[in-house]
Symmetry: C2
Subunit: 392 residues, 2 copies
């Protein structure tokens, strides 16, 4: 399901192909975040225009709104939001542990009050796998406990135990519910669920990743990685990063985990995605990223360019007829000036944040494309150097 | 500049071609409203996708923000907002008389405090023509006094006198400033402003319309129309409508004005634009419309369809997999369901109002296209009948 096609001569960076039921994703890749079945302010057509190969959805949010009944009725998340490329879903662990009220963690699962309407819910690792299966997710995450930064080692160790026991249960449920169930299209018009062997072998399976936790403790990160690898997953996420810890600590933890992860499986650093982070993480062998930065910061008027971050509201841009980014060939940069986009922000016009969001996602997805090309040509270190000193 | 290409056999409806410096506009036509140099929530590319031939800008708003210096710097409003088709600008009269504070109307012009920052301004009919010329407007409106509904006849008569004196001054200023000035592209690289006769004759001129006021008094509407016609304009707007008066009164006033307007000039009912209004006004010989309804109501979740208005938040659409409008071939209706768009509104996602705005403008512009086709084929009355009883 994952095949490395080129390894950089000078670093641990690699280019690979990850097969999913909704297409092959070339890595390293950035995944725009579509929490509530929409990447904020952008349409599915625009995401395709940006060449996004895969986007993120969030199980917690979608489970609450619109709810599974409505998504099932639409035939899954892809059809619901008109997106026929790959979708990775986060389990919702992070949201349950950061957004909800009156949360109660038990061995069986986690109980909490919805941040939307206060209603009480109970989710287990098994239910979360089923929810993601029903969403039609191509790459699923197991329910995990997400700690705040900083956490004591005792707390972190205890939490890690639970997260890994949940991971094992998720894997078992995944084998039962996902791998044993035939794809819907083959079932249509059949009287039973039995697939012929030939159908079975042609099928591209959904994937389940493990999530390496362990807070800021290298030995816990090692233990987390080793335990998950012994369970065996299709890929490995590194969670609990970018939650307020210093950057050096973040990369130290990344390294502590990666050392114990198999070379031949994709690695995904969750929630990490400032431009410099890409270079530093890819250098260590990371393959997948997601981050709300390009869309959230766009809505606040921050545009990402090769030269660094540009705050469009600044007075210096009032008569600047250049595009957001001078070497960008996106439709926003072809048609609109900084002067105009600044006016749109000053007058609180929706088009301002739309154009900036579109440019930023284009910039991000395109940056990863340039990185892949550089790795293929063993120029990764040079490209990384080009970006040194730029302020994002 | 205006040529009627077909007259309906059964009504006063007509199809025409209106030549502007930024292309020929086929009438009757609906103009999406781009008050602040953007049709709310839509990009210029999307407006082209909708086949909008001409859009509206607003002199008052643009004069305040971003201000003339920034628009001049961009080379005019068209370049500023990346729109190379026609633009009609409202003079700002309506906004001055409805939005500003401490307003003082004098014979010379009108003094007021900006609704944005309270700054004091003084605008005359001459200045307003110059501002529109600097914006690069293709079709300009003279400064007029806009009355609230209801107004006494005395007040309306007095106001009409002023509006028509301002109209005359606008025409004189237009002749001085606009018609005598060579287009910028011909000036580039020249040492003087004199045009050769051949250049002059090939040039498509900017247009100045007169605005028929007169509140709800038929005899004042008649007087307004006759005086303006004797001054002579490129087209005639009917102002002061759709400001709270009953519909029957609105159409009565429309008729009172149209009777005295020349057959061979375009007629524009300002701010009028509910779907039924199109049929009723076009039947009387109206050629141009603008209205914020398709975009403003879209942002509140109202979609326009052949079957009437659809309130997308209604529970009945929660699992409705049909498009907003079943016979619509716009990209929104091709790719997204009512169920999905309802979810976007419920979660306050920007994409919800984007998709509804795009569909509504497409529906409006396309409806006028169908009306033109019906007139050409003398089927206007049939098409009008099709829409009877639909609730918008």
């Amino acid at each position: 399901m994952f095949r490395i096609t080129h390894k950089d001569k000078n670093t641990n960076a690699r280019v690979g192909l990850l097969e999913t039921p909704h297409g092959v994703v070339e890595t390293p890749e950035f995944m725009p975040v579509g929490t509530q079945a929409t990447v904020k302010a952008l349409s599915s057509e625009e995401l395709k225009y940006c060449n996004a190969q895969i986007i993120l959805g969030n199980t917690y949010h979608l489970y609450l709104r619109p709810g599974m009944e409505i998504i099932r009725n639409a035939g899954g998340l892809h059809k619901f939001m008109s997106w026929n490329r790959a979708i990775l879903t986060d389990s919702g662990g992070f949201q349950i542990f950061s957004l909800t009220a009156l949360m109660k963690v038990k061995e069986e699962g986690v109980e909490f009050n919805s941040h939307v309407d206060g209603s009480r819910h109970f989710l287990t690792p098994e239910i979360v796998v089923k929810l993601q299966h029903e969403l039609g997710s191509d790459i699923m995450m197991p329910l995990d406990e997400c700690l705040h930064y900083p956490s004591t080692k005792d707390k972190a160790e205890q939490s890690l135990g639970l997260t890994n026991r949940w991971a094992k249960r998720s894997k078992e449920e995944f084998a039962r519910v996902v791998l044993d169930s035939p794809p819907e299209e083959l079932l249509a018009g059949r009287s039973n669920n039995i697939l012929r062997a030939s159908e079975r072998s042609e099928r591209v399976e959904k994937l389940l990743f493990g999530i390496v936790q362990g807070s800021t403790y290298p030995d816990l990160r090692k233990r987390a990685a080793e335990e998950l690898v012994s369970i065996g997953f299709d890929g490995y996420s590194i969670g609990g990063l970018s939650v307020g810890e210093p950057k050096e600590l973040m990369f130290e933890m990344m390294e502590s985990a990666i050392k114990y992860l198999p070379e031949d499986k994709p690695r995904y650093t969750m929630g990490v995605g400032m431009p410099h982070d890409f270079f530093n993480a890819i250098e260590m062998g990371v393959d997948m990223f997601d981050c709300v930065v390009p869309t959230r910061n766009a809505r606040n008027g921050a545009a990402y360019t090769n030269e660094g971050r540009l705050i469009i509201r600044n007075g210096e841009y009032s008569k600047d007829l250049r595009p957001l980014s001078e070497n960008c060939d996106c439709i926003v940069c072809k048609n609109y000036s900084r002067s105009y986009i600044r006016h749109l922000f000053n007058t609180e016009e929706i088009l301002g944040l739309r154009l900036t969001s579109l440019h930023n996602v284009y910039f991000y997805v395109n940056l990863l494309d340039r990185i892949r090309k550089a790795i293929r040509e063993d120029r990764f270190v040079e490209l990384k150097k080009e970006f040194e000193g730029r302020i994002f």
